[in-house]
């Protein structure tokens, strides 16, 4: 059975059981491998994507629930100031949890351009990082927030326009 959903701005037909978790469709049908399998029950955050701008774990979100909705994956978001800040701060070790964390951080910054440390930690609390890179990741998100706000007053910045094109598809 075919389910049509919007992924990174494009309508995509997915021929699979409508109960199939989005993550498998992204990785195997659409070749979007940036969302990663971690637990299969939506508690580790490695598979996070945006659904209508809200971070949602794709591993336990069935295709049928996404009809008429807009999914953005890390491929649709990239490059994003949060990613730049992660690389500047070398805020990762194995990196497997990072793309999910980037998705949640980007959604947070969309809501709150300059979040407090507490707000960042609270937003990222639904993610697990086993390597122990949390401190650097929190710093990177704070850094991206500051950079993002700076670039608001300097709207020609490349990264800012990239980000707009990445998330503009959600509207």
């Amino acid at each position: 059975m075919t389910t049509t959903i919007t992924v990174n701005g494009e309508p995509r037909d997915i021929d699979a059981d409508p109960g199939t978790p989005l993550l498998y469709a992204l990785r195997n049908d659409l070749g979007l491998l940036g969302a990663r399998f971690g637990c299969g029950v939506g508690v580790c955050g490695a598979c996070m994507v945006h659904v209508d701008g809200t971070p949602v774990p794709s591993c336990d979100t069935p295709l049928w629930s996404l009809r008429g909705k807009s999914v953005v994956t890390v491929e649709g978001l990239s490059p994003h100031p949060v990613q730049e800040a992660f690389l500047d701060g070398q805020a990762a070790q194995c990196g497997y949890c990072v793309t999910g964390i980037v998705m949640t951080a980007a959604a947070l910054l969309e809501r709150d351009a300059e979040p407090s440390r507490e707000a960042v930690m609270s937003a990222l609390d639904r993610h697990l990082c086993r390597c122990g890179a949390q401190q650097r990741m929190v710093e990177a998100v704070l850094q991206a927030g500051r950079r993002d706000s700076d670039s608001d007053s300097d709207s020609d910045s490349d990264s800012d326009s990239d980000r707009s094109s990445g998330t503009g598809t959600e509207a």
Partner: protein, 668 residues
């Protein structure tokens, strides 16, 4: 004539390591693998400096059959061993080109020659000692396919294994009609198909349709001390000064313990295999050692080791012997049913937490005497543990999980321990780094167990350092001394004293703190010969127990990448904090019950301490690894800080809020 570095002596032909291309770029093949620790970047820095080229000219090639055999990537030895080998190999290549440009002379210079150990080394490089960004991180941060889990070979099928419900369970029957390929060999059961989601559902249906014969085999998880002490044991006598304790000195005793711990990587383990002929298989794995894995697979299936080609592809964080090798062998077994077709196997979260090898539970008894001056006058230490080494090929068996469930099952004896030369397992850091007389230090390795244990970061050092450093605090308190001053009274090694003093000063040791907040210190030199690390933990205990801050000083000799060292120390300390205050593998008498992130919780973002790392420079000393230096000292610092904060000592890990409350109740 100088000797070649160990790994280069084992693989002396330069072309095994290095290829120079006509465009002037260089391929560097190493046997050590990227586990999230940044080793490929550090080795690229070393190579580029010795070759006299920029970092962009060096391409790091993952370990595989074309590259050198460097055993396993373990024990914090990669910079020491591979770094030394790469440096001399690269210096040889540079010497063979003798100043001629790489690009123009790539075809003329013969690298099929053995390395010369006496080649002059380049003293001043531009890259070693600098914060070079990790080469692999851009792919990982931007979500480009890079992990084994992301690999999609042409025609690749997906496989899942239905593991037994409990240890030793035997598959009696399975009745589930399906169009997919079902593989059964004894109690090994798996399913293969083209659609991953369909295969996952089929695996669940097969699980529901399978009947197993089970029995209770596990020890009482609430009395692991008895289980570990009952034996039978191998006795590991590592120090005996042969003197009896001074009879008039005060005796102090304590018992410490830790439970079984899980690797709990964020990604479940993965393996890919393709049989290219009846007797030839290609394997892709995030194993710590592609050659040892290939030999173990060959041994398990009676193949020529040369016909099992294992290539490394990065996985998620690896903290020791996890299920990577098992998943590779699962793929080999499943792919045998579909000759010529690659099969990717991914473990489930539940299997990852319950079937991967665990870090052994351990318990240690310390009996020491204190002289009239308060100093330690004798030291008796007995530690009880399962072994810490059950890697592929250990003890002459495959060491691969699925091999034990086949119709002709392989034996899987209790884990052994690494040799003294490799830094021990149970006895790693069992000998205190302090000046302590009249020592008798003995290990007791359990020889029979139903629980599979193997290497996890720091091995026995985590519990041994926790025990020794907790005891130092208890002795200092008895002697009426400050914990830092007491350590320094017993420590002459200047590098050890420097990290202790540096961490203490940075943490504001001796300053007054709010009620319910305490500082604790922990120190060790990893393996007694690796990196020095001192940790000061700040813990607040009111409604719950929170590790607020870790202040760390570390000396790992010649530093290749300072930020890489900081990152490893930070991560090691945060992970060790999680082990110390949260983690415990749970089981009943039949099966492991901590099978998800709710039943095996690890520290979350809002719970991790802030970490401040100072690198104490010691550039004249050889490089030591950083990945395992902080774990033991962190556990000890946290335990000592809890005692300082509330006056109660918890000697059994994990130090959860419940454990602290129970300890307070026992005191009252």
């Amino acid at each position: 004539m100088a000797a070649l570095p160990k790994d280069l002596a084992a693989n002396p032909i330069l072309s095994r390591w290095i290829t120079v291309h006509r465009d002037g770029t260089v391929d560097l093949r190493v046997g050590k693998v990227e586990l999230g620790q940044g080793i490929l970047t550090a080795l690229a820095q070393i190579a580029a400096d010795e070759l006299g080229v920029g970092l962009a000219s060096v391409r790091m090639r993952a370990a595989g059959p074309d590259g050198p055999d460097e055993g396993v990537t373990a024990g914090s030895m990669s910079v020491t061993d591979a770094g030394a080998a790469v440096r001399v190999a690269a210096a040889n290549v540079r010497a063979l080109f003798a100043g001629r440009p790489f690009a123009e002379h790539a075809d003329e210079v013969d690298l099929d020659v053995p390395a010369d150990p006496d080649v002059p080394l380049n003293a001043a490089g531009a890259l070693v000692g600098r914060d070079v960004p990790r080469l692999d991180l851009p792919d990982k941060v931007y979500g480009r396919p890079r992990y084994l889990q992301d690999m999609r070979l042409p025609g690749q099928l997906f496989g899942r294994v239905i593991r037994p419900p409990s240890r030793g369970a035997a598959l009696v029957s399975v009745d589930y009609p399906t169009d997919l390929t079902v593989v059964r060999d004894g109690s090994f059961l798996g399913v293969i198909g083209p659609d991953e989601a369909v295969v996952v559902r089929a695996a669940e249906a097969l699980r529901a349709a399978s009947v197993w014969r089970e029995h209770d085999s596990l020890p009482d998880e609430n009395d692991l001390g008895k289980f570990l002490r009952d034996g039978p044991h191998e006795i590991l006598a590592v120090a005996d000064d042969g003197e009896t304790p001074p009879p008039d000195d005060a005796t102090l005793t304590a018992i410490y313990s830790r439970p079984f711990l899980a690797h709990a990587s964020i990604a479940p383990s993965c393996g890919i295999a393709r049989w290219t002929a009846d007797d030839h298989v290609e394997v892709w794995s995030h194993s710590q050692g592609v050659y040892p894995l290939g030999r173990a697979i060959a041994g398990a299936l009676g193949l020529d080791p040369g016909n099992v080609e294992v290539r490394h592809v990065e996985g998620a964080g690896c903290y020791g012997h996890n299920a990577a090798d098992d998943a590779a062998f699962d793929a080999v077994l499943l792919a045998r049913a579909v000759p010529g077709v690659p099969v990717q196997v991914l473990w489930s979260r539940q299997d990852e937490l319950s079937w991967a090898p665990f870090a052994s539970a351990m318990t240690a008894d310390v009996i020491a005497t204190l002289g009239a001056d308060g100093r330690i006058s004798s030291w008796r230490y007995d530690v009880f543990s399962q072994g810490h080494l059950a890697r592929p090929g250990y003890a002459g068996v495959p060491g691969l999980l699925a091999a034990t469930t086949l119709a002709a099952p392989a034996d899987y004896p209790a884990a052994v321990d690494p040799s003294a030369a490799s830094g021990h397992g149970t006895m790693r850091n069992a000998v205190p780094g302090y000046d302590v007389p009249r020592r008798r230090i003995t290990g007791h390795r359990l020889l029979e167990t139903p629980i599979r244990s193997s290497a996890m970061r720091a091995l026995g050092a985590f519990l041994n350092v926790f025990a020794i450093e907790s005891f130092l605090d208890e002795a200092a308190e008895r002697a009426g001394r400050d914990a830092l001053a007491y350590r320094l009274e017993h420590l002459t090694d200047p590098r050890g004293r420097r990290v202790l003093e540096t961490a203490a000063e940075a943490a504001g040791w001796g300053r007054s703190l709010p009620e319910g907040t305490g500082l604790g210190i922990g120190y060790a030199r990893y393996k007694g010969r690796g990196g020095y690390c001192a940790v000061v933990a700040r813990v607040a205990a009111d409604a719950d127990v929170r590790v607020e801050r870790l202040t760390i000083a570390v000396d790992v000799g010649r530093v290749i990448n300072p930020d890489g060292v900081r990152n490893q120390i930070e991560g090691g300390a945060v992970q060790a904090t999680s082990w110390t205050v949260r983690e415990r593998v749970r089981f009943d008498r039949r099966q492991v019950t901590s099978v998800d992130w709710l039943s095996y919780p690890i520290l979350r973002f809002s719970e991790v301490p802030s970490v401040d790392v100072t690198l104490v420079e010691s550039p004249g000393d050889p490089s030591a690894g950083a990945g395992e230096a902080a774990q033991g000292p962190t556990a000890a610092a946290v335990g000592n800080a809890v005692a300082a904060a509330i006056g109660v000592r918890v000697r059994d890990l994990p130090i959860t809020t419940d454990a602290v409350v129970a300890a307070i109740d026992r005191m009252a």
